[in-house]
Amino acid sequence: MTTPPLLALDGLRAGYGRVEVLHGVSLTVPEGRMVAMVGPNGAGKSTLMSAVMGLLPRRGGTVRYRDAPAGSTGQMVAAGALLVPESRALFTDMSVEDNLLLGFLRRRRAGERDVRGAMAEVFAIFPRLAERRRQLAGTLSGGERQMLALGRALMGGPRLLLLDEPSLGLAPLIVREIFRVLAELRGRGLSILLVEQNVRAALQISDYGYVLELGQVVAEGPSATLAADPRVVETYLGQRRRDV
């Protein structure tokens, strides 16, 4: 018997108003793995994240999380599915420390009290946040904001981390830093669903990849295989096939 995957989507449909964006998407995130979902702008990657989290109504198909049908956003968060959205959604008029403190809320409800310990762990990963702990989140640079958004999610002790475009709008040096941290988290056995436009980096650090186009999965496979797939190479990695 194999253990059931942490997250399993089967034929998921979702959209906004009359427009359907996802036309039946199936994917799985096994426990302890990092799964990348890549694809162009408008493919429905963020919609997928919203539907998984219950921020958007799921119109068809099934979403199973921890071997049970996925519930509302509140239930998903309580069950440890923590999303870092593309917008970061930080509490900009509150301090870095308060943002992290609120990230701990989920664990606090479960009876945990060691906020300082959890915060120290986040500060160990992102020393920059420790320096800025008293600053308002709104005064941080783009890279620091992404670190804080990621740190806030880590404060909640995620079972499944959902990352929506963590590299979007960041300087290359910061992107490298973020991906270094993601690789480290994966190394610790954290289950991650990563949505990225930066296909090369995403396929480099993930175990398994899916390519989403126009709301449908058009290719999938182990990340290394996918990164070598001629179609993927041509479309997303900007290289011409040698034999042409």
Binding site: T73, A89, F91, D93, M94, L105, R106, R152
Partner: protein, 339 residues
């Protein structure tokens, strides 16, 4: 002007300004957490004052039956939400109203001022969360305008209920203090000091609540970024309930304080609430310190206005809105059309 008259007016203005400050704070808390402009807050103020006055004259006020009715409805509605939710609801909407009802029926005859006031606060405060639960929450995602229209409708409902409950007569709340202090040639009334003391205590208390407690920070977070709040597990229903509970408590407190300074009728709350709203607008519906300054300005202007040009008192206060709105719209520039 005679300096003694001026200081008497100033004292009067600061006292009413403190009341407007309380109401402005209530409006800001509710608006930032739920985008609702809580017009019926003024009516809850009248409910608070008249409930206390009723208890003090030995009647069991009809607001108590409203609380019991709404609580029973909330209890019934919670039965669909699972065992844990129902258990909690039984405590909040079953045990609490029962205790308050028994205490009111038993203590109304005693006519002890402090007890009447505390009971009035206990009766009116839960109406905030109940109004949120039944009126606003079902349409929480509606536009600010739709929510405002709902607020106006609720205002008319509450004012109608107020007339049924309390009749058209004015009533006074017993003063917390009847002492008078004389400093030099100045008379300072004990009740004015009580009002100021209550306002300061509330501001300090709320400062602590929002700055140092997790619940307070969660409420600020919900106002700061609703999506982020949902993603860390802050329940929008609970924050709305908390915000409306705070606003209703503040309104009831303002009611029992101002009801001792001037007799109030069932429909007096709206105008007082409106002045709190003017103060809140001066803070752009976001800034607490600006709203506080605005509230004191409104109170003092009104007080001085009533001496110099009593017929134009209200005109002076509400005309103040025009330059303030102009300034706000110029300052905010291009993002004025969001909302």
């Amino acid at each position: 002007m005679d300096p003694f008259i001026f200081f008497a007016l100033l004292q009067d203005g600061i006292t009413t300004g403190a009341i407007y400050l309380l109401l402005a704070i209530g409006l800001l808390i509710v608006f930032s957490a739920t985008r609702v402009i809580f017009v019926p807050q003024g009516d809850l103020l009248a409910f608070g004052a008249l409930t206390a006055a009723g208890l003090q004259s030995g009647h069991v006020p009809a607001t108590l039956w409203l609380l019991d009715g709404l609580s029973a409805a909330a209890l019934l509605a919670s039965l669909t939400g699972g065992v844990r939710a129902a258990g909690r609801a039984l405590l909040v909407w079953g045990v609490y109203p029962a205790v308050v009802s028994l205490a009111s029926v038993w203590l109304a005859r005693r006519e002890i001022p402090a007890v009447s006031i505390l009971l009035a606060l206990a009766i009116v405060t839960p109406m905030g969360p109940l109004i949120w639960r039944f009126a606003y929450r079902p349409m929480a995602d509606a536009s600010v305008l739709a929510l405002l229209i709902l607020s106006m409708a609720l205002h008319f409902v509450l004012i109608g209920l107020g007339l049924v409950f309390f009749g058209p007569e004015e009533a006074s709340v017993p003063a917390l203090s009847t002492a008078n202090f004389t400093i030099g040639a100045l008379d300072i009334s004990g009740q004015s000091l009580c009002v100021l003391g209550a306002a300061v205590a509330l501001v300090v208390g709320l400062g602590w609540f929002f700055g140092a407690t997790v619940q307070g920070k969660a409420l600020r977070a919900a106002a700061s970024d609703p999506l982020g709040a949902r993603l860390v597990g802050i329940d929008a229903g609970a924050t709305g309930s908390l915000a409306f509970g705070l606003a209703a408590f503040i309104a009831a407190l303002a009611g029992v304080l101002i009801g001792a300074l001037t007799p109030l009728s069932y429909d007096a709350g709206f105008e007082i609430g409106l002045k709190g709203f003017v103060a809140a607008i001066m803070g752009g519906l976001v800034s607490y310190p600006m709203a506080a300054a605005g509230a004191l300005l409104v109170g003092v202007l009104e007080s001085l206005g009533s001496f110099w040009a009593s017929a134009y008192r209200e005109v002076i206060v509400f005309t103040l809105l025009i330059p303030v709105l102009l300034w706000l719209s110029l300052r905010r520039g291009s993002d004025e059309d969001r909302a």
